[in-house]
Amino acid sequence: MDLLSHLALGFGVALTPVNLLYALIGVVLGTLIGVLPGIGPVATIAMLLPTTYALQPVSALIMLAGIYYGAQYGGSTTAILINMPGESSSVVTCLDGHQMARKGQAGAALTISALGSFFAGTVATILVASVAIPLSELALKFGPAEYFSLMVLGLIGAVVLAHGSLLKAIAMIILGLLLGIVGTDVNSGVARFSFGVPELTDGIGVVTVAMGLFGFAEIISNLEVSQKREMIAAKIKGFFLTKEQFRKAWPAALRGTALGSVLGVLPGGGAMLSAFASYTLEKKIADDPSEFGKGAIQGVAGPESANNAGAQTSFIPLLTLGIPENAVMALMVGAMTIHNIQPGPQVMTSNPALFWGLIASMWVGNLMLVVLNLPLIGMWIKLLQVPYRILYPAILLFCSIGVYSINNTNVDIMLTVFFGLIGIIFVKLDCEPAPLLLGFVLGPMMEENLRRALLLSRGDPTVFFTRPLSLVMLLMAAALVLIIVLPNVRKTRAVAFQEEA
């Protein structure tokens, strides 16, 4: 069987001592930043990206991927123990996980979240491996017109499923696309939007943008509100589930895994959306919905499985189509690019060891997380007692060193500060930075495919509508926008009418 031989190749790569070590570093770091509020996977991956220059590409990607799904495990630990989501994807875990902890069931809540995550991770790994080949084959048939439309669909999908204003999110994408074309134009050699700064002719680095918008801006907005944390310091005991708990939890974990796997693949999906959707589903189908919010184990098992499944299947569009669907995947594109790997369907054939090694490492990493997580909880709790006033300067330091080390110039540091300032303005204006980062990464690819598509059609723009695959994708994008806009229109009208009446 093909799948098995590919997985065998993958495990051969993932189980080498070096890669095991980097997977371990990745998941431990991921859990750490998952536990610590105020720093997320985007900022961490951006911080570590420059330090992976010297590594083998596969080791680098294994480590960075580990940070992302490791953060899902860590985030749930803080959600359960101190009612504070370490990651946005564990917001819903707070609701019932923390209530379980208050009832003295912290151990059980942590166990089900770890086991659910592991189960979901296993299923998602198999899913990624089995859809990778057919999807890549489909993508290899794409011409520039199809690629352009696919990117439109990916970008629109990413903002439709995200929260916040749709119009502003689309504007942020355009802004990102504009930032993405800063630098020397490959076709004409003209340095665009470089403002006479020689360093800008090479373009702006994805690390600089991500670190400023996500890292610096987040620290500053955290400092504007006072940080108060309340610890449920009760002794954690009883990691074993009762029969009753297990009976309620396993179907929820199963549903969460299925839901997360599907939502993870969609553009804009990923860990957070999956967790929210799963919680809503569990509450809807529960025998006794009133239990929810008071420590229902389904409310922990479902979302925790879903966020991990979603985190992993969100690699599918990146690995098979070369299209990132959330901010973390946008950074993975950056990571592949610095190692001279052009993300896309050809990675699987040109770089099979890297491709299957990365997939296999996800399962290995999940296994490590389940083994490590429960014994390490004591250590995480100690870390949480470090006050934010000590923590944030350290985060700032690591960010600054990371940015500096990209080119060993302080131009990058100044640029990051600039993006930090812009990031704060975005926060104030409720403009989400994630769509900008996606647009930024896709900008050059989009322009190139637009150019090539129109060159082939001799300047006829209808090419995007006459090629069937391209048309289907554009129609899907339009449908997505309509779905969101229509109720909005109605709501807006309702509000307007109300005010006039």
């Binding site: 504009l178 074309i181 350290a394 060193i401 104030k428 059609s457």
Partner: protein, 150 residues
């Protein structure tokens, strides 16, 4: 007589319009080309126009749609955090990692309302040691450790 109902959106819309205009003005220096043979100015101009249109819609909607007021702006965290990073960027080449780290930690700690100078100094020294061990010795980054060592 409040005409603007959603000040946040109004400012955001105006910001997008300004960026769009800026993009078009700058891109007007680049060859436009034709649709079949796009010059370097083609795509930026499309984006600039889209940006202005979206910005205008957002801004106009803010006149009708009620939204939250503009939030306050606390200068201390913004200036202290970003300023200390700027200082770090300027001195790291010259004073080396140890001194710049201590400077960054102590300065940026002052952004918090719970600033404790002594604690920040201790943390700075410890982190300087950690940074040298992790980044210079461990990851072998090309950063000087002491003043004038590069």
């Amino acid at each position: 007589m409040a005409v603007v109902r959603g000040p946040k959106d109004l400012v955001a819309g105006l910001m997008f319009i300004a960026v769009g205009i800026l993009a078009i003005v700058i891109a007007s220096n680049y060859t436009l080309g034709t649709a079949a043979r796009m010059g370097p100015g083609y795509f930026p101009r499309i984006l600039g126009i889209l940006m202005i249109v979206l910005g205008a819609i957002i801004a106009l909607r803010s006149l009708r749609l009620a939204g939250p007021p503009l939030p306050g702006w606390k200068w201390r965290p913004v200036l202290v955090v970003l300023g200390s990073v700027v200082v770090f960027g300027m001195v790291v080449n010259w004073l080396g990692l140890v001194v710049s780290t201590i400077l960054l930690i102590v300065m940026s700690s002052a952004a918090s309302t719970e600033f404790r100078p002594k604690e920040a100094a201790i943390s700075g020294v410890l982190l300087a040691v950690l940074a040298v061990v992790v980044f210079v010795i461990g990851l072998k980054l090309q950063i000087g450790i002491w003043p004038g060592s590069r």
